[in-house]
């Protein structure tokens, strides 16, 4: 079970339908494996329900009942992606990942850290998978903006803690860390950032122009 969770503000925004982006997909993945946060979201859905109950009614046009009835009689359009993808990938991400994590076209100029950009980035957020090889350490870095990370498989540590599958971590410009994957297996993370990461230290400064 996950030990690190999204902030309540984020869960409320999710229930309010305001996270229709990579960050929302990440929250949805976390909810699949976290009954605690799923319960919170249920509570925020109730809040939405109560706010809907309190609405004063908008006048509707005379034809609306017949139009709605006609629409209800038409066959339902099924979700074309309902059965797409690999069942080991969390459902919200399944249609965006080609198969399982082994099938992802990993790239990058180092064997210890590889990456793949997910096709759900937009003007606000960049969505990326990282694969840290077992036992390897990332160069120490900090972040220009916020970086949300969800551990998919494996585990890693930095000076603040140990993170396992399902953990949802937020790093911001005040976080300076050096994550290291645990020895037993590669660690795959789903990261969503609103600005690229900034490497600190000597090698970091050398690499930065290539990364941004």
């Amino acid at each position: 079970m996950a030990n690190y969770h999204p902030a309540d503000e984020l869960l409320m925004q999710f229930a309010a339908g305001q996270l229709t982006n990579a960050l929302g997909v990440m929250v949805a993945c976390h909810l699949e494996s976290c009954p605690h946060c799923a319960h919170q979201v249920k509570l925020y859905n109730h809040l939405g329900g109560e706010l809907l109950a309190e609405q004063s009614e908008a006048p509707v046009s005379a034809a609306l009942l017949e139009q709605a009835w006609a629409k209800a009689q038409a066959p339902e359009t099924p979700n074309p992606f309902a059965n797409v993808g690999d069942a080991r990938v969390p459902r919200p991400l399944r249609r965006f990942v080609p198969g399982y994590y082994d099938d992802v076209p990993w790239g990058g100029f180092s064997k210890s850290i590889q990456q793949w950009d997910l096709p759900i980035s937009d003007s606000q957020y960049t969505a990326r998978f990282y694969k840290i090889a077992a036992g390897k350490e990332l160069p120490e870095h900090t972040h220009k903006g916020n970086e949300f990370t969800l551990v998919m498989t494996g585990s890693f540590s930095d000076k603040s803690g140990d993170y396992h599958a399902g953990d949802f971590i937020l790093a911001d410009e005040h976080t300076r860390h050096q994550p290291r994957a645990h020895m037993s297996e590669d660690c795959i993370c789903f990261a969503v950032m609103d600005a690229p990461l900034k490497l600190t230290g000597f090698f970091g400064r050398m690499l930065n122009p290539f990364l941004s």
Binding site: L19, Q40, G49, L52, S61, A82, I120
Partner: protein, 210 residues
């Protein structure tokens, strides 16, 4: 004047109206639910930024889904108004998606759970807890909204209905971002405290059932 056993002036609840659709599958029950909720569904869509025409389109979509999924509605897990809220919210998201270049759709964020995976739903004990949970939740949330000071309430409204980010709300109300965040945080703390209280009740009720 004779007094009927069941008061005929009392409106059927939304829960009953949705259950009737599932049971009768007829236009009469569909129309009854339509009259009970279409105005509020439309108001929600418009507050979220849809124009009159689009809002009616969203209402049609939502009610069509209600018609198709009425048999899945379980008043033990959520009240009808919460269920309707999740449906109209998803329709609003998917409608906005058509006009903007957005990849993510509501089915990605709220995948329909496969019944065969929800093994725990068959457990009778869970049935009790779910039922209790749904009643308490609705009551709890109502209590919470009523208890919120106007300034916190206004911000919660804006998060739900206007799709505003915290910084947009700050700009609109001409208040520092920190103030918005702390007001929202206060509102959520209150909800959380009530939720914890609710949890203890839930545990007591469950213990009494054993």
């Amino acid at each position: 004047m004779s007094t009927p056993l069941v008061s005929s002036t009392e409106q059927p609840s939304l829960n009953e109206l949705v259950l009737r659709i599932a049971e009768h599958q007829d236009k009469q029950s569909f129309a009854a639910l339509f009259h009970a909720c279409s105005g509020r569904l439309k108001a929600y869509a418009m507050r979220c930024g849809a124009n009159d025409h689009d809002a009616e389109e969203i209402v049609q979509e939502a009610l069509a889904t209600v018609w198709h999924k009425a048999h899945q509605f379980n008043p033990a897990t959520a009240s009808a108004i919460t269920w309707l809220y999740t449906i109209v919210r998803n329709k609003r998201i998917d409608f906005a998606r058509k006009t903007k270049n957005v990849q993510v759709m509501s089915d990605d964020l709220w995948p329909d759970s496969e019944p065969e995976n929800d093994l725990w739903q068959d457990s009778p004990n869970n049935d009790v807890s779910e039922h209790v949970e749904s009643d308490l939740n609705a009551q709890l949330v109502r209590t919470m909204i009523e208890a919120l000071p106007q300034e916190q309430r206004q911000i919660v409204y804006k998060v739900y209905f206007e799709g505003k980010s915290h910084s947009e709300i700050a700009e609109e109300l001409d208040l520092p971002l920190g103030t918005i965040k702390s007001r929202l945080r206060l509102a959520m703390k209150k909800l959380d405290a009530l939720a914890k209280e609710q949890m203890s009740w839930l545990i007591i009720i469950l213990l009494m059932n054993y």
